[in-house]
Amino acid sequence: MPGQPGRVQIIDPTSATGEEIDAAVDRDRIRVLAGATETAASFQFDGEDHTLGNALRYVIMKNPDVEFCGYSIPHPSEAKMNIRIQTYDGVSVYAVLEKGLQDLMDMCDIVEDKFRAAREDFKDRMET
């Protein structure tokens, strides 16, 4: 991937010249709902649904620092997804959310690698 290491490039699918999506767009899609503390917060994501919600809930629940994690879609005709995270003492919910996203991305990488390998294997098996 081009660009500086650690920086993610996400190309705007609507732009003719392949411009990047401004990170501010994604910042505005996330809100921390009222009543948040360092160890318990609800986040709201615009334009997300069960696809990300349930998968993210699963990896966050796999984290032993997490006391509770759940997600909901408050209303079916609004494209919004809420995710609630509560952690044990002294662990930041923001760090937990970031780790969850990172774990899910790592999982995707492995699924992709294994899928490609299995496809090659199958091709070889069919040829012989």
Binding site: R27, N54, K123
Partner: protein, 375 residues
């Protein structure tokens, strides 16, 4: 830290299927669920235990298994396949003339549902088109070579030479009377614009996947003249943009024969399942020594599970009292048998890879937005 035995793990991930009930559905591999056990997310553990097995592969039809992954993630891939992978489909239809008996809006709807295909690189190069809203009318990008394909349909039905005379004589077969009385998808002509000529080589232009889709039936004097704009979109917006005819998974069925089923019962038992699920083997003397109830039944047929993957879990065997306590049906919670049927714009294996990539991009965007917010 205690590690559960392999038997215990297998038991935990087995859904039990009863005659009217399903139990043990929810996964329990979370920290804190089983006292003293560690179920923390571990990338190396996942890498070691996750498997992909291919069953059959054709360009438009793929079947494979994902083993050792949670339902929530497998379902995310399935949902992305159905609703979030962009494809090209006819969106706007400009009707200049339509004297056929199909109404304009019905015809436009039919045209929209035609699966289109073309050179993969060219389709990848094409970008989404964002429709102007009522407020932003006239502003924003206009349909152009990089976001729209122009297709034309110009066809009129006429009498064949001598068709009218044949009709007078009583001929009723339309094929012998008219020209262009059936309008098919192959009659749609793509009109390359701008850079599209470079991206779509000769013979690999934008065209319907199936040339024989019947669109309209006409009679002499009727005519259709229209222009179409095909845009990229996603299935979430309209099902015509979905790249798959269907993408689904089922869990691997299990059949455990607890007590031996022999003789005529074995044949009846095999008939409770689709072909190839249960096979009949002869009871050997070694079998008889192991199980006392088989004594004296050497040489009789015995039901043995051959290929549980072929089972449809109809639960037919549970209806018969003689098998009631002899068999247990179930499904493996983390063995997903995927089936992806592409509509033709993508290859089915590339579709799955794209769904994995899109889930990752979703995470990346949220993570980036979160970093931005924390600044």
């Amino acid at each position: 830290m205690p590690v559960p035995s392999a038997d215990e793990l297998a038991r935990r991930k087995k859904l039990e299927v009863g005659p009217e009930t399903v139990s043990n559905q929810a996964s329990t591999d979370f920290p804190g669920h089983w006292p003293g056990e560690n179920h923390e997310w571990n990338l190396d553990y996942f890498r070691e235990n996750f498997q992909v097995q291919f069953h059959s592969q054709e360009p438009l039809d793929l079947s494979f298994s994902l083993i050792g992954i949670d339902t929530s993630v497998a379902n995310a891939f399935r949902r992305i396949l159905l609703a979030e992978i962009p494809t090209l489909a006819i969106e706007d239809v400009f009707i200049y003339q339509n004297t056929s008996i199909i109404q304009d809006e019905v015809l436009a709807h039919r045209l929209g549902l035609i699966p289109l295909c073309g050179n993969r690189d060219g389709l990848q190069w094409m970008k989404w088109y964002q429709k102007p809203t009522e407020e932003s009318e006239g502003s924003g990008p206009q349909p152009s070579d990089y976001n729209a394909a122009v297709l034309n349909l110009d066809i009129a039905c006429t009498w064949q030479e001598g068709g009218l005379e044949r009709a007078v004589r009583g001929e009723t077969d339309p094929d012998k009377l008219y020209v262009n009385h059936n309008v098919y998808a192959r009659d749609i002509v793509w009109q390359p614009t701008g850079k599209q000529e470079d991206w779509f080589p000769e013979g690999d232009g934008i065209r319907p996947v199936h040339p024989d889709i019947l669109l309209v039936k006409m009679r002499p004097g009727q005519q259709i003249q229209l222009m179409m704009h095909a845009f990229k979109g996603i299935g979430q917006d309209h099902a015509k943009f979905s790249p798959v005819a269907t993408a689904s998974y089922r869990l691997l069925p299990t059949i455990d024969i607890i007590k031996p089923i022999v003789g005529a019962d074995a044949k009846k038992f095999a008939r409770c399942f689709p072909k190839g699920v249960i096979k009949l083997e002869e009871v050997t003397s070694a079998d008889a020594q192991k199980a006392p109830e088989l004594g004296g039944k050497e040489g009789e047929p015995k039901a043995v599970v051959d290929d549980p993957m072929k089972d449809t879990v109809s639960r037919e065997c549970l209806r018969h009292p003689e098998f009631k306590d002899k068999v247990k049906l179930g499904r493996v919670r983390d063995h997903f048998i995927f089936r992806i049927e592409s509509t033709g714009q993508w290859d089915s294996d590339e579709l799955f890879l794209e769904s994995v990539r899109l889930l990752k991009v979703k995470c990346q965007r949220i993570k980036r937005g979160l970093d931005e917010m924390m600044k």
